[in-house]
Amino acid sequence: MNRSWRRRTTDGSQLTLRGIGLGYIGLFVALPIIALGARAFAGGLPRLWENLTQPEALFSLRLTVIMAGAMILINVVMGTLTAWFLVRHRFPLRGLMNALIDLPFAIPTNVTGLMLVVLYGPQSSIGSFLSAGGVEVIYAKPGIVLALLFVTFPFVVRAVQPVLLELDRDVEEAASTLGAGRLAVFRKVILPSLLPAILTGAALSFSRALGEFGSVVMVAGNIPLRTQVAPVFVYGEIESDNPEGALGVSVVLLVGSLVVLILLNLLQRLGRRQDE
């Protein structure tokens, strides 16, 4: 059993492992994506374009982006604030809050949807109170934003929290000693160091909102040109035996998640560079 023999065997087993790993990803991730792409472009680009520009498809994509945008605006502010208080303050409910932050990740999406329907639906007292005031939540757009807010709640909080923990307090104290107001300290000292983390949280939230289905379909239903977001549109087309109609929107959603993934990677590098 000399040295060179052993080296060769480890190389062999390494190659086997690599082969198994690549085969696994190839079969379960790469091949399904290639199959979708091949099917989408099989009829030629004009067909796909036509497919994508049907009014319902375009509407669903636009609605998805608008709803995701509304969610991000709220989530970035509330998520950063929540992280701030969790890290810098003691208050009642803090332990409970910290423990339950991740719950939206663990709860099945359609259970989330069901909970929101129970709470705000036409049969609930809150729902009937709101609709008497002219505000419809369920089967309407506010319901979609609410569902997205629920399922993405942890992203910004969990991205910002560790950065806040590691933030050097001395710089803040120095700034305030030098006469900077609280707002100035926040804007000029704290916010710049939090920004990559906030953007990461926002990108993760956006990616999730692009694809979210279970909670939204329960809350908003499947009303074309009114509450039908892109994943629900895709589901509707498949369900009504017209999978071809879902190809264009599916490809856009897939490319969208790829772009966000690349963006996240860049953000990660930016964060690392700032660290050095």
Partner: protein, 304 residues
Amino acid sequence: MSSAVSMSGSGVNGSPQPRAARGAPPTRRGFTSASREGRWGTRILLGVVIVWFAVLILAPIAALVWGTCDAGLGAALAALRTPTAREAFNLTIGVTIAAVLINTFFGVVLALVLARQRFGGKLLLEGLIDLPFSVSPVVAGFMFIILFGPQGWLGRWFEAGGIRVVFAVPGIVLATIFVTLPFVTRELVPVLRECGLEQEEAARTLGANGWQTFWRVTVPSVRWGLGYGITLTVARALGEFGAVLVVSGSIIGKTQTATLFIHQEFTDFHYEGAFAASLVLAVVSFCLLVAMELIQKRMQQERS
């Protein structure tokens, strides 16, 4: 800073979950209590945060609990005892076990490859691993219908062999494997990198073969990371809805998982069944969350 944006320690849906951040108490009061009006501003903001959390997260959960109790606990239990409900939960458990077994085996292999080997195209591979987190579950299900449907590249072969994949249990298993694929690998890679190769090399020098080294040295040193990855896989597999719905074609009873059962009951206005099953899944997910918390504590302890 890097810990915030690093993707290690992923949540059920791929969020960064900083291990160090959780549960760490604020060490000292900051400058925030400096001025009187500042204190009031802080209090108002804190009030907003608490109300927001209560309305957004706590109220829906309370509504589910209240809804189940309102429909009557007896009715809830009866709804869970029906054959359809039982079959649905059994299928969910079976699918979860299958997804955990497959993703753990291949996930460990893949993690070893990513942590220990250098080769061209590794970046692309890492990107592909993350993709199931960001792809819409509906699109994921759709991809499997295309690939494994009767006319699909692979479905054709299965069809010729008389095996139904799509609109049947194998399709549900495939879709669940896809959506839970990244967890084990992504939890293991950083842990493997951290524990390094020294102990394994020592074991080898002492005459252990590759297999012995793996089971007696590698596995014990990454066991908590592995446990965490598996817990995340279980949580997501139990609760997956969109991908499974698309792939199953929801044929009642035959290919119904617990989440599909909830959907069915809800659309049929059988609210007791939908509420009861939802509450069961919510409680299970909460328990898994607690398990994750405990595992993270152990990991931190062992690190320090």
